[in-house]
Symmetry: C2
Subunit: 590 residues, 2 copies
């Protein structure tokens, strides 16, 4: 070992010890003939001192140390005169007897500190230097800790981690697969898994009872902000369980992760909300319940009073924004523009300002009596000093817009503290979604999701209205307005599966072609089973109090799917192309 | 939950309890009006009984149960009259009150028992059924346990598991990469990692100090027996360490894995052997030290005595095979044929039989006196009743052949008990290997492996003989004749790295092109570091007492790289090919 201690380890109780540290020079400064060096490693920072009366060789080495030099330093632990209460090692310093330069460093292209002066692009190019910064070290340490907690919890619960293959088969449904040409089987391709869904269900058929895996998944999608072509899932499946068992098991996991990794005790039990309530009250299937500002249906109050915009709307809804009753015309105009942006898509915004004296002023004064407006304000649970914002249109669409507006106002008012954790289960999703365009039902989750047992009769009904009412045994885990995971109880009964294909308009031949392999496996005694998967990158980010996942992935890709550090993807040579029996048409004229 | 207990859980102390079990029908038989059902799940087997006087509905359901039906069964725990001491649940049975058929099964294509009647191919096709068999369930349970032990040990030692990317860059050296066409970057490809070597070294540059990962790796090689195109590594790297630190750390890991997973305490410390000794005494860089039968150099004893085959050989070596002194002519002919097979490649075999009365008979009697043969026998440490086998030729080649012969004789004599574990570190590998063909040196491990500190002077010598003597700071972990892992201390000094490229005849431009990316990172203060990787599939197999890895992988591929269960790889559709700007030339005439 090049060291006796790490740079985060020594305390006043070590005073007088002869020690040897190794690490990176964070900074070095001369002060009254002495040289002070901050030595850094993953564990912390320790101050090294070269005294004014030190041996000339030592002094001259100390003077020449540059930022990020790697050194090994020997000396004695002394009590510091001016202590630094911000550092765990701040009570001591090492009076040096020798310095051994293990490696030099050219000047790094940006500062390696809590907040760097480097732009995003240069930091991505030199990711290995950015990764030296404390926020990223903390992020990856948290990720490691969370992975350990997941494994220890699930292991204790009798789950087995079973590795499923990465070179699998391209499937004709779902998102686009990444594919891998097979040299040994010319013209044929493997696909990288979008999730181990099929394999985990097969493991249930194989009797493994409780499976999990922290596993990489791949999706060749056009990348939206904060999506990665490869991402990590906590993937789980259980046999002989009902929805309640799955929810309890993973509620326990989340509780332990919060407790052990963050020292936070989350709500017990975690609240549950059915999908319809979430949509009606929060305009979202992943509501942020850290704050109220719920959506109120005011359709019956304001429709049919002569205001044609409302009169022609299926639905009119409102939120009461606390303490914004004094918004200026300019602020309201800006907000109107904001909701009209294509990302939100509202046609306009109606407001009702309630002054501190209780007087009401609105953009629709002329259509409604004071009493009507008072009634509206009361329905929205608004009080003096608040601002009521109203949107209208088709029901679910308008609720969704109100949900987005609600989150925006929550952000503006600082109601979304990343250190507050408000988990929530969303349950009772609709099983089916009617597509007006295709005039058919689609599975909201996937075609293997089971209807709720109490809705089975509806599921076998021939009426569209009945089928629309069928709820699934499906659930999402939501934290602070972000969906962290979800799953379902699967269909294990052949007759029910066949009914599902009928409802989805999938012919027997088509089902066989698309899902034949798993349907066949299910003939050999499939147990009742269900499971879920969590997006691990996002779990880490949210636990860390961040919204973006990039800092929680050691080597992420950019929005073009490129790793700019290693400059990948890249061209491969002709020999390799020939071996794979492939020709690129990238340069060809279309 | 569909059950109150698992099928492996109930004991005599549970007598009188009302329980509910769920699982698969292993078998069902009628006996004197009663029906006995063996119900199986991952946890064990429990006997269910339907009494002769049971309700007719229950009796009729029980009679109709087929193999692998999935049922839920309620009843009372009774003490068994005829106990089964082979089963942990063998003292009890459940007297049934109800059976609920959860799912039926068509007849499985082979028996799902400890030893199946199904051939390899059909079991691979129905892998999910083969996975129900106890040996495979034990194999995957062991794998899970070992992975947990690795993580718990390394976590406790301050290692962080950090996930490295799977979509990386194709490298121009080493084995063949699997590649992944990029749709967003037409004509360009990612590569799947053969190992995270570069990334783990970058993590050391980034200051992560102690990294590990249980990670999938990919190699597009023509598959030898028992190789998989995707395999799993325990990949580790440490900073500020010397070889001794790495060996001690992972010796501790192996010790804990053996102790906690198998209840076996392996040698402490694990013996170490330098590469030269291993080659000289065992004819292998991965010797099986569970048995002796060491190789003896008898060159000086037998060369130059008129036997032209020996006289023209660089080296003559021998092993003494215990208790085989009475081998017949036929047995010796068969053994001679065996060493002459191309897989061994010897030109012939000389034998010396020592009868129980001590008399000696050999195939070279006419060239040597009785005293000379006695001397030879003594050198080989053979005794009455033993057989000495002699091979000759070029030194290392002959030693290797003797090594293969030694393992074969060990197998024939039953000296290789899979329940005995003899770990070993091989150290002091030569750094460089001279290629007569290319008239240049190659790195024995890889070009980033550091020479031993005490051999640095030799490393900077210009004489080929000196360079051949340089030993590397490289090490392999060997268990029972199988290499389970290996690694090295890496070069972290730019001047030494540059010297290495010189020695290997790699020009500055070439080095920049091939390794530029990591060389550049090393300019920013790379710490001294080193690490190793274990082949996890093989670790699991050997811990399980098996030589083949296939049973320790949930969904393995066959020797053609195919997954016959999902029938992959497969053709993809034209749309996907077009999106990737690819054309297959597989059907084209050459």
């Amino acid at each position: 070992m090049y060291r006796t201690h790490t740079c985060g380890e020594l305390r006043l109780s070590d005073k007088g010890k002869k020690v040897c540290l190794a690490g990176w020079v964070q900074k070095s400064r001369k002060l009254g003939g002495m040289t002070f060096i901050d030595l850094r490693d993953r564990y912390g920072i320790t101050q090294l001192v070269v005294r004014a009366d030190a041996a000339p060789e030592l002094a001259s080495v100390a003077e020449k140390l540059g930022r990020e030099f790697v050194i090994q330093a020997r000396g004695e632990v002394l009590e510091r005169e001016s202590k630094n209460p911000k550092l765990p090692t701040g009570d001591i310093e090492i009076q040096l007897e020798s310095i051994n330069i293990l490696n030099r460093s050219v000047t790094p292209p940006f500062t390696i500190e809590e907040n760097s002066d480097g732009g995003e692009e240069i930091r991505a190019r030199y990711r290995y230097l950015d990764l030296r910064r404390p926020p990223l070290q903390r992020a990856l340490a948290l990720r490691h800790r969370l992975a350990q907690e997941v494994r220890n919890y699930l292991d204790a619960q009798g789950f087995m981690e079973i590795e499923t293959p990465y070179l699998i088969k391209s499937t004709p449904e779902g998102a686009r697969d990444f594919v891998v040409p097979s040299r040994m089987n010319p013209g044929q391709f493997y696909a990288l898994p979008q999730s181990p869904q099929t394999f985990k269900q097969l493991l249930m058929v194989a009797g493994y009872d409780r499976y999990f895996q922290i596993v990489r998944c791949f999706r060749d999608e056009d990348l939206r902000a904060d999506r990665q072509p490869e991402f990590t899932q906590i993937d789980c499946e259980m046999s002989f369980v009902e929805q309640e068992d799955v929810l309890n098991t993973f509620e326990g996991m989340m509780r332990q992760m919060f407790h052990n990794a963050l020292g936070v005790d989350i709500a017990n039990p975690i609240p549950r909300m059915d999908w319809y309530t979430a949509m009606d009250r929060y305009g979202s299937d992943k509501p942020d319940i850290r704050f109220g500002m719920e959506i109120h249906d005011i359709t019956s109050l304001v429709k049919g009073c002569g205001f044609s915009v409302f009169d022609s709307s299926e639905y009119i809804g409102a939120i009461a924004v606390e303490g914004c009753g004094e918004y200026t015309r300019k602020q309201l105009d800006e907000l109107t523009d904001w909701v009209k942006r294509p990302q939100v898509g509202a046609k306009g915004l109606v407001y009702i300002k309630i002054a501190h004296d209780g007087s009401i002023k609105s953009s629709v004064d002329k259509f409604y009596t004071a009493e009507q407006l008072q009634e509206l304000v009361k329905t929205c649970e608004a009080k003096a000093g608040d601002l009521v914002l109203v949107l209208c249109g088709a029901k679910r669409k308008t609720q969704t817009q109100l949900g987005v507006l609600r989150i925006e106002m929550g952000n503006r008012l600082g109601l979304r503290d990343p250190k507050v954790f408000a988990p929530l289960w969303i349950v009772d999703f609709p099983l089916l979604e009617w597509s007006e365009e295709d005039q058919r039902f689609y599975a909201m989750h996937h075609p293997f999701t089971a209807p709720k047992p109490e809705h089975e009769a509806l599921f076998y009904s021939d009426r569209k209205e009945d089928l629309e009412k069928v709820c699934a045994n499906a659930y999402d885990f939501v934290l602070n307005g972000t969906e962290l995971g979800g799953g379902s109880i699967r269909i294990h009964d052949a007759a029910m599966q066949s009914r599902m294909f009928d409802v989805l308009g999938i012919s027997k031949e088509d089902a066989e072609y698309k899902f034949g392999f798993i349907i066949n496996a299910f003939k050999f005694g499939a147990p009742p089973h269900g499971g879920l998967a969590f997006g691990f990158d996002r779990v880490c980010a949210l636990f860390g109090g961040q919204e973006t996942i990039r800092d929680y992935i050691a080597f992420p890709k950019n929005n073009q799917g490129r790793d700019v550090m290693i400059d990948s993807p890249s061209l491969i040579d002709q020999v390799q192309m020939d071996e794979l029996c492939l020709k690129s048409t990238a340069g060809d004229k279309k």
